[in-house]
């Protein structure tokens, strides 16, 4: 699947100041029965978003009309647990292009990158400021610049890490399979050793 190109995104954001958000919360297992990649956004954070009878849980941030945008900001250790890529598909399908946290689980981070969703790791201090700022003003924005590897809040800028290979993939919309297919000859050589 070719991924969306990512360069700069300026957007308001949705705060989810909960730690250890696991992939079972992002997309519960009972919604993993599909055989395509589409439509998982409907059930993103299903059991936090909706009550058992299907009605909206008004207290949950995604149901609060005050908050919107293409950036999700979450507490530390986002995406722990299962390797289900459906979690990244759900985040992407809902419309988020960036997830900001002070710490990500490894598999979720890989899955997000493979779907053109940029995980931005910030310091715990910066994360606190981001949460505080949106409490003041729900239309507060963040600017994420991939080329520069920076995230800014009201002009306060922090740099983030991403490996140069993945950065290049996102900037250009390349995916890993294309890269690997180009290496077929080397792989066949390796097998002979």
């Amino acid at each position: 699947m070719p991924i969306d190109k990512f360069t700069v995104l300026e957007s308001s954001y949705v705060p989810l100041p909960i730690e250890n958000v696991d992939t079972d919360q992002i997309i519960p297992a009972r919604f993993l029965k599909a055989t395509s990649r589409e439509g998982f956004g409907e059930n993103l954070f299903r059991d936090w978003r909706f009550a058992a009878d299907g009605s909206e849980n008004k207290d949950f941030v995604l149901n609060n009309p005050k908050y919107s945008g293409q950036i999700l900001v979450a507490g530390k250790n986002f995406g722990s647990g299962s390797s289900r890529e459906h979690a990244a598909w759900a985040v992407h399908d809902y419309g988020f292009k960036v997830v900001v946290s002070s710490f990500f689980a490894d598999i979720f981070r890989n899955n997000a990158l493979n779907n053109g969703v940029l995980p931005v790791i910030v310091s715990p201090e910066f994360l606190s400021k981001v949460f505080a700022a949106i409490e003041e003003d729900s239309s507060q924005k963040l600017v994420v610049d991939l080329e520069e590897q920076s995230i800014s809040l009201n002009g306060e800028k922090e740099e983030f890490e991403i490996n140069p290979y993945k950065k290049n993939c996102l900037l250009n919309g390349f995916d890993d399979i294309d890269y690997l297919l180009d290496k077929k000859e080397n792989i066949v050589e390796f097998e002979k050793e």
Binding site: M1, I18, E19, N20, D22, D24, Q25, P28, A29, R30, L32, K33, A34, T35, S36, R37, D47, A52, G75, K76, N77, S80, G81, S82, S83, R84, E85, H86, A88, F103, F104, A105, D106, I107, N110, N111, N114, N115, N163, P164, Y165, K166, D175, D176, I177, Y179, L180, L181, K183, K184, N186, I187, F190, E191
Partner: protein, 466 residues
């Protein structure tokens, strides 16, 4: 030669090439697939007009989404049936070995791999399932991947992967009676926390680990992901060779001798450096139980849930939210709390030794009437062995029945769901909110602790029942 860790030896031997400042192209020896995380990968392959590159290196078994009763009948849920039929069709089209539903070798992917000898020391193994770390028990580099990565492996038998850092966890000493591999791993996770090993590949070492059986080692490596580790592994030794020998896909004859000679080199050299090391004493570990909504929230069974003062201030809001979900209070004692359901099974504790442990404790006793118990063998072979060994009889006499193999209530994708608000003592691996069904409340434990809860109806120290 510079001393190397076990992990480095296996990883480095599989690097086709390293991208400067980026991931490595890692060659995969064995790829395991199941019905839930593979359909989109096959679809992706098809849309690129590709066939599976090395079909003989992939093995398939449906497990996550299959019923655990009446497996001989048509699956009622249309979406589930479609997922399983899609796996069958994809395997057929691409010449992939499939242990389908009702096949005598069907079962949970991480139970089937080792029991058939697909899992061997020194291999690289992946599967679209985070508990692939199980296979590290054999000295393999094994880890869970996403579906895009499943597609990569199907297309090229390789994956692009950044190399994790190295961690060693040493547990020396002897485990007390009634303390199992599951307790050992829950103890370690409680020490490190749910993200404590994120970014690392863990090697488990020390005499307590060495003395574990292969199945115990699998339980320990299986849970590595629950502290965030990319994987966990244990250096192969005579216990490993003894287990692998004679299994269907294990090397035979002269090949066996050659393989063992090679496998004996798979250990961390003296002086090799780890990025992080932890050491624990086996004697400090008692039967463990979790009380919260991540596997790091665990304590010895005689202990209490931490008080507000014992929790780091910054983590208190999340901690309280978790206890609220569980219906527990700060400082609560665990012993004596009511239990509604007991689940024994999963890739963590669904093997024959787990069923033996369960049977040993419930023998001559009766299941508490207030408890619903689901005993789910990890595979058809485990099921058969439990029958042959008379375990099924022991369990039935005590009021338990065996369901059919599958992942079942570990993730509750099928109908095996714990109802909202009910307490489940479970031998599985995750106690996340709603993991065993919307609103379910899970307490992770060993098969012995689960057995003790099943016969008493409350949280009970299994050592009191021996």
């Amino acid at each position: 030669m510079e001393p190397k860790t076990l992990f480095d030896k296996v990883w480095d031997a599989h690097v086709v090439e390293k991208i400067e400042g980026g991931p490595s192209v890692l060659y995969i020896d064995k790829h395991l697939i199941h019905e839930v995380t593979s359909p989109q990968a096959f679809a992706g392959l098809e849309s690129r007009g590709l066939k599976v590159f090395r079909p003989e290196k992939t093995v398939a078994t449906p497990d996550h989404n299959i019923p655990t009763v009446n497996q001989h009948l048509k699956i009622e849920d249309e979406l589930s049936r479609n997922q399983i039929e899609t796996l069958t069709a994809n395997c057929k089209k691409n010449d992939i070995t499939l242990y389908g539903l009702n096949h005598p070798k069907n079962g949970i992917v991480h139970v089937v791999g080792p029991e058939l000898g697909h899992t061997q020391p020194g291999m690289t193994m992946v599967c679209g399932d985070s508990h692939t770390s199980t296979h590290g028990a054999f000295g393999a580099v094994a880890f869970g991947i996403g579906t895009s990565e499943v597609e990569m492996v199907l297309a090229t038998q390789c994956i692009l992967q950044p190399k994790p850092k190295r961690m060693r966890i040493t547990i020396d000493g002897e485990l007390q009676k009634g303390v199992t591999a599951k307790d050992l791993t829950l103890y370690v996770i409680a020490q490190l926390g749910t993200g404590g090993a994120t970014g690392y590949f863990v090697e488990y070492a020390g005499s307590a680990v060495r003395n574990l059986t292969m199945e115990g080692r699998m339980t320990v490596c299986n849970m590595s992901i629950e502290m965030g580790a990319r994987g966990g592994m244990i250096a192969p030794d005579e216990t490993t060779f003894e287990y692998v020998k004679g299994r269907e896909f294990a090397p035979k004859g002269e090949d066996w001798d050659k393989a063992v000679a090679k496998w004996k080199e798979l250990k961390t050299d003296d002086g090799a450096v780890f990025d992080k090391e932890y050491t624990y004493k086996a004697e400090d570990i008692e039967p463990m139980l979790t009380y919260g909504t991540n596997p790091g929230m665990g304590t010895g069974i005689s202990g209490n849930i931490p008080t507000a003062e014992e929790v780091e201030a910054s983590e208190l809001p999340t901690f309280k939210k978790s206890l609220e979900y569980m219906g527990f209070g700060l400082g609560d004692k665990l012993l004596g709390k009511k239990v509604d359901y007991v689940f024994v099974g999963s890739c963590t504790n669904g093997r024959i030794e787990d069923l033996r442990m369960l049977a040993s404790l419930v023998k001559g006793k009766k299941k508490a009437d207030s408890v619903t118990a689901w005993i789910v063998p990890g595979s058809k072979q485990v099921e058969k062995q439990a029958q042959e060994e008379g375990l099924v009889e022991v369990l039935e006499e005590a009021g338990f029945e065996l369901r059919q193999p599958g992942c079942s209530a570990c993730l509750a994708m099928n109908d095996d769901k714990i109802p909202a608000g009910k307490y489940s003592v479970s031998t599985s691996n995750r106690n996340f909110e709603g993991r065993q069904g919307p609103g379910s409340r899970t307490l992770l434990a060993s098969p012995l602790t689960a057995a003790a809860a099943a016969v008493t109806g409350v949280i009970t120290d299994p050592r009191e029942l021996f």
